[in-house]
């Protein structure tokens, strides 16, 4: 009996304690932020959408290599010798055409790892977080500012230059080889002549002078 009374008392006490707490909260100001109307200020180091300042990019590919999910896709073309791409705002000389610089934000996991390796600080996270799309492919952001014709032209030029260089290199190689051959032949001739001039001294060592000659050539 006493136990029941005690239990009952405890029940009522806890009910009224609970109701007191909820009544207190009824008059507390709410913590709700009316989102589309009001927005919270993001912290300065908030990780959100990626942005690339393409004018500052030197095409070093460090960000793409740092990315754990491979969401950065960069294609560069070496600038031909007749073009000067200028310098970045940090003073680094630019040597690549950036024919493709795509970031797939659908894959991005906001790890921030691509931001730190950038030598010119051109890839960074901006405070924008409302960029949902109906089509997933719209989440691939294209940062390259070259037009398709430009890209084709640049590639063509670079290819031609590369071919030219390759041809030049091959020619140089061939020339070198030829020269080396000539030199050797000349050397071999010289030795032969020396032998002919002084046959007596060499006779004791080798009976067949032609054999020795062939081994020299090897």
């Amino acid at each position: 009996m006493l136990h029941t009374v005690k239990e009952g008392w405890l029940t009522f006490k806890s009910i009224f304690t609970g109701m007191g707490i909820t009544m207190k909260h009824l008059f507390q100001p709410s913590v709700t932020l009316q989102y589309p109307d009001e927005r919270d200020e993001l912290p300065a180091n908030a990780r959100a959408k990626l942005y690339v300042d393409i004018d500052d990019c030197i095409g070093c590919n460090l960000c793409a290599r740092a990315c754990p999910v491979n969401c950065i896709d960069i294609e560069t073309v070496m600038a031909t010798e007749d073009v000067d791409l200028g310098k970045t705002s940090t003073g680094n000389p630019k040597r690549f055409w950036l024919t493709r610089f795509n970031i797939d934000m659908a894959k991005c996991m906001y790890c921030d790892l691509c931001v730190h390796p950038c030598p010119t600080e051109c890839i960074k996270m901006v405070q924008e977080y409302e960029y949902s799309e109906f089509d997933r492919t719209n989440l691939i952001y294209h940062f390259s500012n070259l037009s398709p014709e430009m890209v084709a032209e640049v590639k063509d030029k670079a290819e031609k230059e590369a071919e030219e260089k390759k041809r030049q290199r091959e020619e140089a190689k061939r020339k070198k080889e030829e020269e080396a051959k000539k030199k050797k032949e000349a050397e071999a001739k010289k030795k032969e002549q020396e032998k002919d001039e002084n046959p007596a001294g060499e006779d004791s060592k080798g009976k067949d002078p032609s054999k020795k000659n062939s081994s020299d050539n090897k």
């Binding site: 609970g18 109701m19 707490i21 909820t22 009824l26 008059f27 709410s30 709700t32 009316q34």
Partner: protein, 343 residues
Amino acid sequence: MTLLNAGSTSAVAILIHAAIPLTIILVYALVAIWGERKIAGFIQDRLGPMRVGGFHGWAQSIADLLKLLQKEDIIPTDASRFLFKFAPFMMFAASYAAFAVIPFSSSYIGSSVDIGVFYLVAVTSILTLSIIMAGWASNNKWSLLGGMRSAAQMVSYEVPTIATILTVIVVSGSLNLMTVTEMQSGNDILGFIPNWFIFQNPFLLIAFGIFFISILAESHRVPFDLPESESELVAGYQTEYSGIRWAMFMLAEYADMLLLSLVGATLFFGGWNSPFGDFLSGPGWGYFWFLFKGLLLVFVMMWIRWTLPRYRVDQLMQICWSVLIPLSFVNLVLVAIWEVIFN
């Protein structure tokens, strides 16, 4: 009583009489559903609905109602079609019919019958029937389980409710709610406390406690909302309902809540009597005070809903049969003894 005398024979007057509680119920339901969501929000340090209609989303329930009206009226293939369609309307009719004997003001009562309380108790028991009807007709095991839980709960809790109503009847000596309210006029206790039954007698205070717990259970409010417990029975007997039929259930539920609160206000808190004696009293103020008291009890019900967790079925039954029913009958005897000694 002018309205009552003017048209006791004409059909127009009957319609007007019927329309007053209906208007009150409909407006109340819209406000209460919005209010419940706001209160829930504020208690949880949120804001609740904010966007429909400008100021604090006041038109939210209207928008919800319009949405429910546009929805398809889905009836399950294997359901018992007539019972399935009929149950929500019967449920609302049962709550609405009970408003006939509620004295809204000194000048307005739908039907001033001498068996008012008896009629009220009898009519509200149809609610149980309509819930079982809905659960059975849905041909769904969860609905049926919900309906059966509900029936068990309502039948059980009707006993302490009626026992506590009886304690008031013992004091008032009349089953007519208008007479019961008139008996509570005046401020005679210690010169300023109103003559409401809850202040007249310490045992009536206990009676009110039991009554309030029982009406929480009867109107399926937390912590006794087992028939429609969202997390366990997927809303119980309402599972298969959608659109306007579901809205009827919701309306009936809120009407039931108001009805029982108003009965509580009539029996224990002096009905339409002003708490300040003659100050701010009169037929017009009568409506205000009566609805104010009723809505205050509705607010307490909402407040409890957002505070307490739900009981288990066995706990629910234990509270009723082994605590509330014995207590209410002992209380009835004590009130009767008090009446014999002091009056």
